[in-house]
């Protein structure tokens, strides 16, 4: 059993009681909500005649269903309009702070909370969204919950949960040029498998992690769940503190020093005990691309799609399903696979630093003919910053469409969808069957830089050829 890790410290601090069944009652420091997984929770409160216990500890925004072309109200899609109206009504009724479209702070919930300074080390953070693990990049314990648990947090600010085990993923050396956090996390998931993290929190550590910016760390923690780990985190350091400093909701004045002192005390002790430790050599990671239907099915850009016999027996069933669905041949190179759609955005890679990297690749270049390419900034803040830096113009000049913020084609709940069996190069997090809106659509996950390279060549390419 783990001991003295950041996870242990934060868990113990937030433990309210041991429940009769044997699970723990955990206090949630920050609760984030959005339009998709909250309406039924508010409905359940009403049914049970309960109030929101700490409305000031829940913050809302709208992201999953928002259109990214025309955001004027009412939305063209009646169901989407009904969902945003329900959220507006619930927030108003329960006095919950809501960052709506046009507020300057709307966006994907996991982009918005960190940029507002809401996400801080040592907190427990829950949201009805599996990518809540993103916030662990700050040294918080953050995890996705379902709607019934959203109801529980609204009603009690606590949930019932079994304590997770802790696996440290120690990343040695550092990433080489043209290789990004996305490549590292895809590589980790490929190495460990998509279910290795079940029952675990992942602590990402080591020189390669320390060298990452906070936004890159968010990309790593964001995809913990794709490796099965509901929660992933990184011990906070000076980079963490300076990222938070002066943000809208960050501790101010005399509170700042106090906060930093406490945050510093949270990191895992040098002699802390882990349930498991895994080592990864970051210098060996290549630009990585998925070829199948789970985020674990990936290869380096210069590798081939694995043959069935190269895979462990446990992976063969899904691999066969993937060959058939994707229409790729075992042994085929991932490089040069033609793509139809290029999407840069999502809570994994829709932040300003992602847009900067993509813009660097796309500057003075043109998107390949007959290819649809679009950028969906992660938030209104990201969009504004990008515009100030002139990135939007670089994208437009290259042939990328510049859209309004939201989740968009990561899960295709708005009108941004693949058609038929189109292949998309996507900076998002899931390549599940049908994930991007077409039941036969095919998704290749990669870093935003790699999506930009694919857009220029019209096929899967090595971005390192563009950034010599």
């Amino acid at each position: 059993m783990s001991q003295d890790t950041l996870f242990d410290k934060v868990w113990d601090l937030h433990k309210v009681s041991s429940l009769p069944g044997g699970s723990d009652q955990i206090f949630i420091g920050l609760h984030l909500i959005h339009e998709v997984t909250s309406p039924q929770a508010f409905g359940a409160l009403k049914d049970k005649n309960l109030k929101v216990k700490f409305p000031e500890r829940t913050v809302a925004t709208v992201d999953h269903i928002v259109p990214t072309d025309n955001q004027s109200r009412p939305f063209k899609d009646n169901l989407a309009e009904q969902m945003i109206e329900t959220l507006e009504k619930n927030c108003l009724e329960h006095k919950i702070r809501f960052f709506n479209i046009g507020s300057g702070n709307q966006g994907i919930v996991h982009v918005v909370a960190p940029e507002l300074g809401l996400t801080q080390p040592g907190m427990t953070i829950a949201c009805g969204d599996s990518h809540t693990s993103t916030h662990g990049a700050f040294g918080s314990i953050a995890f996705g919950i379902g709607t019934s648990q959203v109801r529980d947090v609204l009603a009690t600010q606590t949930i019932a949960m079994n304590k997770l085990k802790v696996r440290q993923i120690w990343c040695d050396n550092k990433l080489s040029k043209g290789v990004y956090a996305k490549d590292l996390v895809l590589h980790i998931i490929n190495t460990l498998g998509v279910k290795a993290g079940v029952g675990f929190a992942y602590e990402f550590a080591g020189p390669a992690i320390n060298a990452l910016s906070i936004e890159e760390r968010m990309t790593i923690c964001n995809m913990s769940i794709e490796g099965g780990a509901r929660c992933g985190y990184i011990n906070p350091d000076e980079k963490t503190f300076s990222y938070i400093k002066n943000k809208l909701c960050a501790p101010k004045n005399e509170h700042w020093e106090k906060a930093v002192k406490w945050w510093k005390s949270l990191k895992s002790d040098e002699d802390s005990i882990y349930d498991d430790v895994i080592k990864i050599d970051a210098s060996k990671v290549e630009p990585t691309v998925t070829w199948g239907i789970t985020p674990g099915q990936s290869v380096g850009i210069n590798q081939q799609i694995p043959l069935l016999e190269e895979l462990s027996p446990n992976d063969q069933l899904v691999a066969e399903e993937a060959y058939e669905y994707m229409g790729f041949k075992p042994g085929q190179s991932i490089k040069n696979i033609p793509v139809d759609v290029c999407f840069i955005g999502s809570c994994t890679n829709g932040r300003i630093s992602d847009l900067r990297v993509a813009a660097q690749v796309l500057k003075d270049k043109k998107v390949s003919k007959n290819l649809k390419a679009f950028i969906v900034p992660g938030s209104e803040k990201v969009a504004n910053e990008a515009k100030q830096e002139g990135l939007d113009q670089i994208f437009k000049d290259s042939g990328f469409q510049w859209r309004e913020p939201g989740c968009s084609m990561c899960l295709a709940m708005n009108s941004d969808k693949l058609i038929g069996n189109q292949v998309s190069a996507s900076s998002s997090n899931r390549n599940f069957k049908g994930r991007q809106g077409s039941p036969s659509g095919r998704t290749l996950l990669m870093s935003p830089a790699m999506v930009a390279a694919a857009a220029i060549n019209g096929k899967v390419s090595d971005v390192r050829e563009f950034i010599k």
Binding site: L13, H14, V16, S17, L19, P20, G21, S23, F27, G29, T37, Q40, G43, L50, K53, V59, H64, D77, L79, T86, L118, Q120, G128, S130, T132, G144, G146, T147, D152, T156, T158, I159, A160, M161, V194, K195, V198, I225, E226, G228, R230, L248, A250, K252, H255, W256, K258, I293, L317, V318, E321, L411, A412, M413, R430, F432, K433, G434, G437, P439
Partner: protein, 207 residues
């Protein structure tokens, strides 16, 4: 047409029903309920959309479309079932279709806790036992009686020792799987905890 859906309530000690097998590892919640069906403000109509895209692809041959399975209540799956999105819509859709319990090799964490929270016990069995059940051609008519007290599943000629997290098993037996009331019992502890948290005082937005 299925009979009207009634959600489970109170103690869950026994689940009897016909099994339905779904073969495949890493079946994610996007497949269980595609995202377009999440555009709703209640769960009522999800049952008919469960596995919608997979079912359309298989044109009537999906296990959830076979006539002989229409009354099935116990779902038999392989490993990492329910991975991906946290959408509770996935177990809600299964439940509204008629599933009352799931037996599998393993489950994704969030899916598992969503199932527990809405009253669907999830049990595990080793890979070998699951495959034996799934390979059995007569499985479509396999009826199991699941006894939560003893974690056993019995049929005419089969007796299986099921595994389930002890905390979940107790919650079902005590009728405390719908956690809100249990959590609320500790109201004063919750308030004390809130006041003790070191970060309260330096969070300006909380004031």
């Amino acid at each position: 047409m299925k009979s009207k859906f009634t959600p489970p309530i109170g103690k869950i000690t026994q689940i009897n029903g016909q099994c339905i097998s779904l073969i495949g590892n890493d079946i994610d919640t996007d497949r269980i309920i595609p995202a377009r069906f999440l555009k709703c403000v209640n769960f009522d109509s999800l049952g008919e959309s469960v596995f919608k895209d997979d079912r359309e692809t298989l044109k009537g041959k999906h296990p959830f479309d076979l006539e002989e399975n229409k009354n099935a209540a116990i779902l038999i799956v392989n490993s990492n079932f329910g991975c991906g999105s946290s959408r509770e819509h996935a177990p809600q859709a299964l439940m509204r279709w008629g599933i009352k319990a799931i037996i599998g090799e393993s489950f994704a964490d969030i899916f598992y806790s969503n199932c527990i929270a809405i009253g669907i016990p999830c049990f595990t069995l080793p890979n070998k036992s699951i495959q034996e059940i799934q390979k059995n051609k007569d499985n479509k008519f396999l009826f199991l009686e699941i006894d939560l007290k003893n974690s056993l599943a019995n049929s005419k000629d089969l007796s299986l020792k099921l595994a389930i997290k002890e905390s979940s098993r107790k919650m079902f037996l005590l009728g405390e799987w719908d956690a809100t009331a249990t959590l609320l019992e500790n109201e004063s502890l919750i308030e004390n905890k809130c006041n003790d948290l070191p970060y309260l005082e330096f969070n300006s937005y909380l004031l």
